[in-house]
């Protein structure tokens, strides 16, 4: 099927700013799903609040646009009651790491079969550019006019520590790789986290000497490197991208099915 067969044209134009990375992520999600051949009615997309979460309305799947930070909690209930459905949970960095941080670590702990796609643009875009838990030290934001002093989360190690069985990072510059990673994340039986560095030229770039989308995508190109590359040894500041972990572990809904068998036999 063509990409347009997966979107709700009725609801376009979308609300994302020119140069925003989120449309690239949406395109990659669609292409990954198309390659996997999953039927549209077997897919549920659950999102929270923020620019990234608006992806819900544009996709022709079952879509649930929920509360700020709570997408994974809604998704957990939905998945547990219909385990055969494929659940995608697009989130933003404020959504996933700040207000929804608790749900992120507990979804990882349970290893429930959801795919969290965290579009990390290092800023709260929808509300106009406030600092987030992934805004860098010294970065400017409307709530950090003197420069941000809050250390940022390392999202990959955060979810690894919480028990996620699939963790990857990619960027909007590396689209082919993003599609490939999303395919693997969706196929993976367990909680998958894909962090996508996605540019916000409007609210992050302009304030932080990366004025255009091109500047920001060049940043992703030049300042990231594949996991374990020689460049990383030479320059430890480079951000690694690729799949950090992909491990088979007991999945929550499968474990629940066993629990039901046990309860029934007692």
């Amino acid at each position: 099927m063509a990409v347009k067969d997966y979107i709700r044209e009725r609801f376009f134009p979308h609300l994302w700013c020119p140069g925003c990375g989120h449309g690239i992520v949406m395109g990659a999600m669609i292409r990954a799903i198309e390659k996997l051949g999953i039927q549209k009615s077997d897919i549920v997309v659950v999102s929270g609040i923020g620019c990234s979460s608006r992806i819900c309305g544009y996709l022709d799947f079952h879509t649930l646009h929920t509360l700020h930070g709570r997408a994974l909690a809604f998704a957990t209930g939905l998945k547990l009651s219909r385990p055969e459905l494929t659940l995608l949970v697009p989130m933003g960095d404020g959504d996933a790491f700040a207000i929804g941080g608790n749900h992120l670590i507990h979804a990882a702990r349970r290893n429930i079969d959801l795919t969290a796609i965290i579009m990390n643009n290092n800023i709260y875009g929808m509300t106009g550019g406030q600092s987030s838990p992934s805004t860098g030290y010294g970065d400017l934001a409307t709530t950090a006019p003197y420069g941000n002093i809050d250390p940022s989360f390392d999202p990959v190690n955060l979810v690894l520590g919480a028990g996620a069985s699939f963790v990857a990072r990619t960027t909007t510059y590396h689209v082919t790789s993003m599609i490939n990673i999303l395919e693997k994340a969706i196929t993976h039986k367990g909680f998958s986290v894909v962090e996508v560095l996605s540019q916000c030229p409007t609210y992050y770039g302009r304030k932080n000497r990366l004025a255009t989308a091109v500047d920001m995508m060049n940043f992703y190109k030049n300042r990231t490197t594949p996991i374990g590359s020689k460049d990383k040894e030479k320059n430890p500041d480079l951000i690694e991208r690729g799949i950090f972990i992909q491990e088979e572990r007991p999945e929550y809904c499968a474990e629940y099915a066993k629990l039901i068998e046990k309860a029934r036999s007692q």
Binding site: S41, T76, G77, L80, L259, A263
Partner: protein, 382 residues
Amino acid sequence: MKNNVLFLQGNEACVEGALYAGLDFFAGYPITPSTEIAELLSYRLPATGRKFIQMEDELSSMCAIVGASLTGKKVMTATSGPGFSLKQEAIGFAVMTETPCVIVNIQRGGPSTGLPTSGSQGDVMQARWGTHGEHAIIVLTASNNQDVFAMTVEAFNLSETFRTPVVLLFDEVVAHTREKLTMPEPGEINVVDRLHTSVPKGTDYHPYLPREDGRLPMSDFGGVHRYNVTGLAHDMWGFPSTNPTIVYDLMRHLVDKIQGHTKEITRIKEFFVEDAECLLISYGASARTALHVVENRRERGEKLGLLELQTLWPFPADVVKKRCASIDCVVVVEMNMGQILHEVKRVIHDGDKVFLANKIDGTFIAPTDILDILRIIQGKGA
């Protein structure tokens, strides 16, 4: 008919009622004094192939049941005091998205951590107005195990009928009182199942277009119709809209579908009201004390009656107004500082004949708390 009489506490009666109504999915978080509901369901649901999950906090429990409800399941969560405060944002989401769900709040002493193991009825207004924004909601209560069971079934029925969250506003006294429950036979109490759309696959389904009777048939997530559900103001497709006409129609629909059916939603019990000169109005655990006083005084020939409210919201204004019309004095009996008292005064337009008998110190309201007020009204002194 043998073996259908149980001796159990109110929380257990609530569980039995929920299972009778067809509960499929429960999500919760431990909190006193409602925890027994979660504990029992963690045992009972999986044994029949259904799902229980203990979530990481109160609001994720509320979110999880809304997610599960959208797949066509009958869902419930249970909490108390602080947990009820935490769930409010997601209750509003269920209101806005018209997702059926049942929320049990076993009231305890507040505010804040308050009195975790004591009875109270301090959440009457929070149940009505706890989530932000103009809205309507259904709130039921009960005073004994038999009614806890019946009202729990009613909560599921009303939730499915009106596509709304329904709050079961019980209290610690009722929840922890052990007494008899005669289990109704299957079919003895009507159980309402979800209304599904008859729109076939391939035909445009409008999830938020009310039928002529105001009802909105649903389509399960995972079914043939793919649509958007959002907490934003939305049009008939469930897509966000700021169009004033669309927003107005949505707001009116959300309120009218409940306020406009107050009569149908009202559950009320009347004791000795026909010839009563003085009427007690009460609900929940307080109504047990009120009934004791009424029965006791009737034996002495005093014309005392009791109106026991089981539907608190939408407030049964017409019934209360009619019942109070020829009454000399009305005493509202509740364990708060007069939350239902204000409603009664508001609807009967004669505030001077309405009095309050209450208890707010964590102890259960006693007959003397009501008798003292009656003596003052009757001019006998305290």
